[in-house]
Symmetry: C2
Subunit: 493 residues, 2 copies
């Protein structure tokens, strides 16, 4: 293939304004090689000729040739000039001509068992909060400016060490703050060494599942319960045993008939039934775990907000057999986008957990952890909790009063001791799904309790959040519920 | 058990100053119950009597009794006053008397196969950077104040949506910035939909391993190579095939004899040998993957810093068969503590990846992602890269010149085209481990190439970072190396 034949093929596209000659020539030649206009073995024009033809400095052309040669597109042969390398597989040279859609026709890819079993968790509703958005704090009352100040101070004095990363278990000063907080406020038995900081409550369940679960292991979950945990355990290949929940929480007798080696529970404020597990049940559950050498995952996801009495101490604080893994998150106390949560493990699991976390993340995200540690140390966290507790108690009061006043005989809204949401039980004849759909048309956000059930659930109820929106919006929500329920009742008759 | 018998047992500890009477009484009674001083069934004193005896308002005592009753510690019986509940298992009532050390004697716990196989990655060196710290950028030159400004602006206008969380694949504006950057600067073929933001480069490997690997799967890795990937694949139960690396990167012929369905490579700047994979090898590797329906994990961990020629386009941009997963991180371009990295997957893996990420994290960390998106959009990222490229090129030049001048015949430091480190090859007779140990005594940080090898490695070399410290420190490092190498040579003779 002589120079002439190349010249007839090699028509380079014009150089766009603002593109440097070298960049343009490089791209043009590389494209010509890749899409086959310059075939393997083809000889390129002399640099001088190319420079003259396209009005480019000869040095630029030489540089581009060297670059392409160093990348393996071109090779210089003694006595025969510069040629496109002969070894490029033909098929790949046609790359850019292959329509992109052909990718879709590739043979089905084998993915892992985990990925096959993984079901997408639907994204959280990111639109503005309306009555009765659950599982979300009052984001508009979060002291974002104060947080920004604390963050700014930390960032301005961010040391190289902080920028470099940390222990896989997290930033030690934050682990110390968390341990002190849990000991004082949650009655947990907790040293900083046993605390790991993880990116959110879901990640806490994930890392513990990764630490413990082999495909085929039996894991018990509350029914109804938190679907995020259920889906995750399923993806790990666990055999799930749904255990009933009564008005004292998970039914321990149900566990006794299983070979569960892990049980996932929400004793402080059962998700979604909102009941609180009394001491006797807690002790019975601990006794079951101890006798079976099983582990309890105590998800303390929103019990910081308590409206009656003192917070019940965590089960973890009652545990003398090292069979409780305790977890909580800052998603409900600060904001979900922070993605910081903690998990407290028994002594013998600290080292395996550190190994697992070191492989997952190498080291922990540091800056946000440092900002949060500062925020807690300065007392802002405690103040924010106290302030929000008052706000939420008031919102709960408004909800309960309005519901009693307007929804009597149709929906019974439970009083709750703690948390960001409660449950409303529908009178016979209503179904949760109907009410949810009808309310949604009035921009009222509800979830049917049945969607948290793993088996058919005998009662019809609604998850009703009261923390995310103000009292006026709660009143609007109750008005909508009244309207919707009356209509549904009329239609039924 | 009458009241008298209780009174003789129930001596409550004095109330410490500053502790509210209710809190004190609650804790004192609960402790008395839990450590058995108040036995199951024991009747408590009348509230009036207790109030008088301890100088506490009667209402406070009533409140505490109600609290303890609601928690299941106490129960009121008609006609017989308030008693400690009879159902508490004896063993647990003795909880606080059990020595804590008994936990250690619990039967060995079964952990998952992953956790059993997981080996702790040693924490990164968090001390001040010295010559020749590798894998770390110049943290002292990071524009922390500028970052703080951008972060402050973002935090002050942080909307509720931002606080609430996001898509499991990450904050869309950041994914857009990353896609644009990769298309322009790395020659990748990339739309925002195929980009996922993950917490660091290690997490990128982890999530892909979770997406793809089943125990027993064959995974090929570079030998020598990045041990963090090796350990992770091992923990997933993969059968690892170490593939040799020559001066063009991984040897594709070695792969042909395996049944690998995934190969982990660092083509831009092989870790740790620092060679760059030329085009022909890239195409051969792609052809191998296509023909075997295998996947290539292209870890582009530090190729943004390039000192000669233009950056080689990513393999991912040459791939027309959808068999490349591309990953890079902001740990080297900004700072490791940021813990943000990206992974770009073929179309058919987007949905499975989203499902896996949604289960792992529910949704992504938002604020840092938003700050980074702002930082990139304002052009700060590009400016920082350009500035650092000049700084590092100069540091590399100083290293090469000083090494040539002072270490000739003992250590040959390779010129590199890209990255934050290079490799120094030791003359026959030296061993890497000896040099590392001797240099460490002079506060010079080196790693032996042999520690990255999975099989015995025939050459003795050192990983030499030149980016993290200034030219003066590099010169000091070379002085130390000269001293150490001369001494070792004398001793050998």
């Amino acid at each position: 293939m002589g120079r002439q034949s190349i010249d007839t093929v090699l028509v380079l596209p014009p150089r766009p304004k603002g593109v440097a000659p070298g960049r343009w020539l490089y791209d043009a030649l590389r494209s010509a090689i890749l899409d086959g206009r310059l075939r393997a073995g083809a000889r390129l024009p002399a640099t001088r000729a190319l420079a003259a033809e396209y009005g480019v400095a000869r040095g630029t052309v030489v540089g581009v040739f060297e670059q392409l040669a160093s990348e393996g597109y071109l090779e210089a042969r003694v006595g025969s000039g510069t040629r496109v390398r002969a070894v490029l597989p033909d098929r790949l040279l046609q790359a850019t001509r292959t329509p992109v859609t052909s990718r879709r026709e590739a043979p089905a890819r084998r993915i892992s068992g985990f990925a096959k079993r993984a079901q997408l968790m639907r994204p959280l509703n990111l639109g503005p909060a309306r009555a009765f958005r659950a599982n979300q704090p009052a984001l508009d009352l979060f002291p974002a400016r104060l947080w920004a100040q604390v963050a700014g101070r930390r960032l301005r004095r961010s040391s190289s060490e902080l920028l470099a990363g940390s222990d896989p278990l997290g930033f030690l000063p934050l682990r110390e703050q968390v341990a002190a907080y849990l000991t004082t406020s949650r009655g947990a038995s907790c040293t900083p060494e046993r605390v790991a900081i993880v990116p959110g409550g879901q990640a806490a369940i994930d890392v513990i599942a990764r630490l413990l679960i082999e495909p085929g292991d039996v894991v018990a979950v509350e029914n109804p319960g938190y679907i995020g945990a259920v889906r995750l355990f399923e993806a790990y290949g666990a055999r799930l045993v749904p255990a009933d929940v009564d008005d004292e929480g998970i039914v321990v007798d149900a566990l006794k008939r299983t070979r569960a080696r892990l049980v996932y529970v929400t004793p402080a404020h059962q998700f979604p039934l909102c009941v609180s597990m009394p001491l006797a049940r807690r002790l019975a559950l601990l006794e079951w775990a101890r006798s079976r050498n099983a582990l309890i995952f105590e998800d303390d996801y929103d019990s910081e907000y308590r409206y009656e009495g003192r917070p019940l101490p965590a089960m973890q604080g009652l545990d003398d057999a090292g069979c409780v893994i305790f977890s909580g998150s800052f998603s409900k106390t600060l904001f979900p986008g922070l993605r910081l949560a903690y998990v407290v493990v028994p002594d013998d699991l600290v080292d395996p957990l550190a190994a697992v976390l070191s492989l997952m993340n190498r080291h922990a995200q540091m800056l946000d952890q440092a900002v949060l540690a500062d925020f807690m140390e300065a007392g802002h966290f405690g103040r924010h909790l106290r302030r929000m507790r008052e706000v939420y108690a008031q919102r709960l009061g408004v909800l309960l009063a309005a519901a009693k006043d307007q929804l009597d005989g149709m929906l019974t809204v439970s009083d709750v001791e703690a948390g960001l949401q409660t449950v409303g039980w529908l009178a016979p004849g209503f179904t949760g799904g109907d009410v949810v759909a009808a309310a949604a048309r009035h921009d009222v956000q509800l979830l049917a309790i049945s969607r948290f059930a793993l088996t058919s659930y005998p009662r019809e109820g609604l998850q009703i959040g009261f923390a995310a929106v103000d009292e006026k919006e709660i009143r609007r929500g109750v008005d909508v519920l009244e309207l919707v329920l009356r209509r549904l009742r009329r239609r039924r008759r």
